[in-house]
Every structure is written in structure tokens, then in C-alpha cells.
Symmetry: C2
Subunit: 333 residues, 2 copies
């Protein structure tokens, strides 16, 4: 029920995903089943016969309440226990589902995911990981909005979360992890970043390559090589993310004004479309919770589902738990 275009876009995305998922996978649509049924039937009626034949792999789970975009995060936990968010996440706890995807209220999804799925030991908070398109391959940026004030300890935790995400979801081997700062030197940065740098440099089990600057992000590399994961607090990550979304619009506007046909550009800039990279996993919770943009198109929802599947089938959450446990038992900075 979440997102600006729900349930139509959500259902359309689910049907798109269904066509790419292996036969053993199925999709549960959680929400007001009456509204879902009507929309689902309408979309299936208009669908190709091959898709209609797969309709049995889509089921519905009743959730009477809806969390509004204006609801406070706490509403998801206490105020509306029968929301599609709470019901959908509880499916994982009960062993009836492997991943949860939503385009609803992000704050509520974070709160409900943390409350219902619980955090892995060794973590203070979960983090949202977003893929930033780059000239090389996409760069994992975290936190991109879950936590506006972060301690050095939390930045170090994000580094560990991001490394597992890059391995499991993106298939990167020994991903390089960098700290976003205002200079490459370890002594550059705000207080939290400087302390995090020290801790990461001393920490084991992570391929820490030092600080990167804003300019290294769109390139996906720095002078020490490729950058797979960039760690920052959620304030910086969120501002950057929204900024990055808007810059291509500006540039395309400038270029088309100069006479270059728009079609020629949109093809070239397809790679910058963050929707193509799917939803952003909330990392740190014991389970899979994929956060999609409120404005998600069906294509974006579909990709969110595929990310959720990759997270579940690669057992990313387990890996995070194991990694954190081995860190806690080993030497730490």
C-alpha cells in the first residue's frame, strides 16, 4: 500500500519481477486485499497469456491498516500493528517470507524493520545503502539517510555492512571501502570521520582504502584504485543522493536547449537512472527490508524485488551477523 502510486505501480512492478524470477519464487502482496485484488485482476486481464499463466505465484496477505507518508515512524510500531508494513515484515519472523520490499514511508519502514526483524548484535542502528551510478560500476553509498547524526563507531559499523552488501548483492570480491571526507589525508574531516578513519585503519576484516572526496564518487575510482563502498553519515549521504538525482536533469536541460535531440541523450544517460539499480536495502536488521523511493515506477519496484531476492538468496543478513560476530570476538580498534 506504500508509495505515491500504490497499489497500481507496486502490483505492476511485482508482475514485471514475476517474469524474471525463477519458477520456485513467489510474491506476496501485503495490504488491503480487496483493493489489491481489483487492481491485480485488472492488470492480469490486460497482460500477456504467458504472464496470466504465472498468476498463481502471486498471493495476497491481508493488512487492514495503511501507514501514511505523513505518519511518524513510531506509528509503524505502536499505532498501526496491522499495517502492510508491520504485517509484511512479520512474515519473515514467522518463516513465511524471505524479503520485504516497500515504497512507503521510509522512516516507518526503518522503525518497523528494526523493531520486528531486530538488529544484528554489534550494531547501534541500521543503515540505508544506495547505489550511486559512476563512470565505472555503481558505488555503494551508506548511510544514505537513515541516521543524520553518526558517531565514529557507527561509521565503522556502516563500513562492515557495506562490504557485505557489495559482496553479496553486487558480487564484488574483497570490495574496497572508503570513508567520504574533505581530503585524502587521515587527518582531514570532521571529528567523527577522523576517529572513524583511525578505527578503520586498525580494524581487521575490511579492505579499507582510506578517505575519498566528493569528486571520486562519480568516477567510481580514486588514486588508490576502484572504490566499491563509500561510508558517510546519513545527512551527507541523503543530501548527495538527492543532489545527484537532480544534476542530470539540469544538464540534459542545458544540452537540449543547445539543440542536441533529447532522445539521443536519454539513451546515453540511462546509466544514471538510479531506478535501474533497484531499491536500497536497510542494512543491519536481521532479515531483508528493501526501501524503494516513494515515486517508484513499476520498473523501480521490480528492481527492488530483484534486489530483495538477491539479498535473501545470498543470505546477506546471515553474513552480516557472522561478520559482526567475528569482529566482536577478534581484535577490534
Amino acid at each position: 500500500m506504500g508509495g505515491d502510486h500504490a497499489p497500481a505501480a507496486t502490483i505492476a512492478g511485482a508482475l514485471l519481477a514475476l517474469q524474471e524470477l525463477a519458477p520456485e519464487h513467489s510474491i506476496q502482496l501485503v495490504g488491503r486485499t480487496e483493493a489489491i485484488r481489483a487492481e491485480l485482476d485488472a492488470q492480469l486481464a490486460a497482460a500477456a497469456p504467458a504472464l496470466r499463466a504465472q498468476a498463481h505465484r502471486v498471493s495476497m496477505v491481508e493488512a487492514a491498516e495503511v501507514i501514511e507518508m505523513t505518519d511518524k515512524p513510531s506509528v509503524a510500531i505502536r499505532g498501526k500493528p496491522k499495517s502492510s508494513m508491520a504485517v509484511g515484515l512479520r512474515l519473515q519472523v514467522d518463516g513465511d517470507s524471505d524479503a520485504f520490499v516497500s515504497a512507503g514511508n521510509t522512516g516507518a519502514q526503518m522503525a518497523a524493520s528494526t523493531f520486528i526483524l531486530r538488529l544484528h548484535e554489534g550494531l547501534n542502528r541500521p543503515a540505508i545503502a544506495t547505489l550511486f551510478p559512476s563512470a565505472r560500476v555503481p558505488v555503494v553509498v551508506l548511510d544514505s539517510g537513515a541516521n543524520v547524526d553518526c558517531s565514529a563507531e557507527e561509521l565503522v559499523q556502516f563500513a562492515r555492512l557495506g562490504a557485505v552488501y557489495a559482496e553479496d548483492i553486487l558480487g564484488r570480491t574483497t570490495p574496497s571501502v572508503a570513508l567520504l571526507s574533505v581530503g585524502e589525508e587521515p587527518e582531514k574531516g570532521n571529528a567523527a570521520v577522523k576517529d572513524a578513519h583511525k578505527a578503520l585503519a586498525a580494524a581487521g576484516g575490511i579492505n579499507f582504502i582510506g578517505n575519498v572526496e566528493g569528486r571520486d564518487l562519480p568516477m567510481g575510482t580514486c588514486d588508490r584504485g576502484p572504490v566499491d563502498v563509500v561510508v558517510c553519515d546519513g545527512f551527507v549521504g541523503n543530501v548527495l543522493l538527492k543532489f545527484y538525482e537532480a544534476v542530470p536533469k539540469l544538464i540534459v536541460g542545458l544540452i537540449t536547449k543547445s539543440g542536441v535531440p533529447k532522445e539521443q541523450l536519454s539513451g546515453a544517460l540511462e546509466n544514471l537512472d538510479y531506478a535501474a539499480h533497484g531499491g536500497a536495502p536497510l542494512l543491519g536488521v536481521k532479515g531483508v527490508s528493501i526501501i524503494c523511493h516513494g515515486k517508484s515506477s513499476p520498473e523501480a519496484i521490480k528492481n527492488g524485488i530483484l534486489v530483495g531476492l538477491r539479498a535473501a538468496s545470498s543470505r546477506m543478513s546471515d553474513h552480516i551477523g557472522q561478520r559482526l560476530a567475528s569482529t566482536a570476538s577478534g581484535a577490534t580498534a
Copy 2:
């Protein structure tokens, strides 16, 4: 003597500026006069006769020491009292100059400017203001790197500094000032931003329009209208600035790969060239100190000089002092 291409680029920039300045303006080149003389003579010998006829408006001031890019900021104050930076700034205190422009070590320029020119009353620190190209007109972003950890009080001070800059240098009437955050609502943001929002909303003498998000910056507008000044801490501002510099490169690369001729693009993207907007003034010091990028081209140096002139002739520094004094005597939040 400062900057990656000094003294050649600095002198070339000075000569470019000379051709745009009114006859009553003159330029002082501060540094090792022997090296400057040689370069200046070589450039004048190759210049047009009209420019050579203006050479008397360029003078030299001896400064035996040079601050290296790797020097600590404190070196500018204590270690090298005869650096071109210290000597050049002291000219203002002695009444022999109205503005100082440098492409040297930024940290050293900040420290030396603060130490020699002194801060206006009511300020804790100076801030660097940078112009971000936007779909509308350039947006003043500050602090863009002088201060990595900022209190709410300092963000409010930056708002006042930025407003005067927008009026005096950009000619904006009653410039709108916004706070960069992760949402429009006053309760969104990190601790410092939330407190700064409250203080700005209660403060007089400033056209505060509330929070803006990352996406509003490249547009130069938000849903409450045009955005002239955006306030953030120096960590966020610096990361954004460097990120913004790199994104167009990425996009042009993608587009030219798709077959659009590069020349067609560079014209369209000319507006995104931050060098076209000149150096970034260090705001808050009693005087004019313009910070240019270390990689400054002659064109960028020239623009830095023109900005320095506008700052001096509009009496921006005095206006900042007056504005701060009236704030201190009036009701404050």
C-alpha cells in the same frame, strides 16, 4: 606565488583582469619579485600593444617566503611571516590594498586572513562562499570547506554572511536564504541543522525560507520560490562542491560515447564551469580575501580578481560588520 601553475597562471590572470578593470584600478603582484619580474616581462613582451600600454598599473611587492601546499595553516601566521600570503594580506591592514586574491594553500589563507584581517564581531569563524551553477542563477553555498564541524550558532552566522554576499557581489535584492537538510520540515536534519532552523526562523533581518534538499540546489529553486543562499557546514559543502565538479565530466563522457560531438556539449555546459564564476570569498574577516582553486586557470584567476574588486567596491566587509552589529544590538533568537 600560490597555486599549481604559479606564477605564470597568476600573472596571466592579472593581465586578463587588467583589461576589464576601470583605469583607476591597479594590481599588486606579491611574491618573489625577481621571479615575478621575469614572468611578467615575458608575458608583456608577447602581449598586444594596448595591454603593454597599461603595464604601469601592475606593481610588485616583495615577499621572500612561499607557503607550500603541504604547509600547515599555522605556518602562514608564525612560521613564514614574509610569505606572499602574509605580506599581501597585511597590505589591507596598512591601507595599501583593498582586496587579496590567492590560489595558494586554502587552510593557510584562512588562517592568515583571520589572523591578519581579524574577524568581524559576532562571529566565531570565517566561511568560504562558493557559487553553485544552477538551472536559474548561481546559488551561494556556504560554508564550502572552511569549517568541518559547525554549531547551530555558526550556521546562523553563515546565513548572515551569505545574505550580504548575495546582495553585494551578485546584486540580489532581499536574497532568500535556505538551510540545507534532508527534508523540508523544520524537524528534519541533524542536531545542528534543527537548532539552526529554529534560530533562523526567529531571527530578524534575514529572508529565511526554511530548509531545502540536495535536489533543490541544481535547480536554484524550491517550492517556496528562488533560492539565493544555501547554508550548510563545511564538510557537507566541500563534499558537494567536489562532487558537483566531477558529475558533468561523467555525463559528458557518457554522452560523447553515444555519438554526440563534444564541441556541441561544451558550449551547452559552459555555465557549469565554476571557474567562470571566479574565486570564493572568505567571509567574516575584516577585509577581502578571495580563495581560488589550486588548479586555477588564468581565466579563473581573472574572475577571482573581479570578485575581489566587487567585494571591495561594494564595501561588502563593512556591510557584514554593520549587519552583525545590528543583529547583536537588536533582538536575537
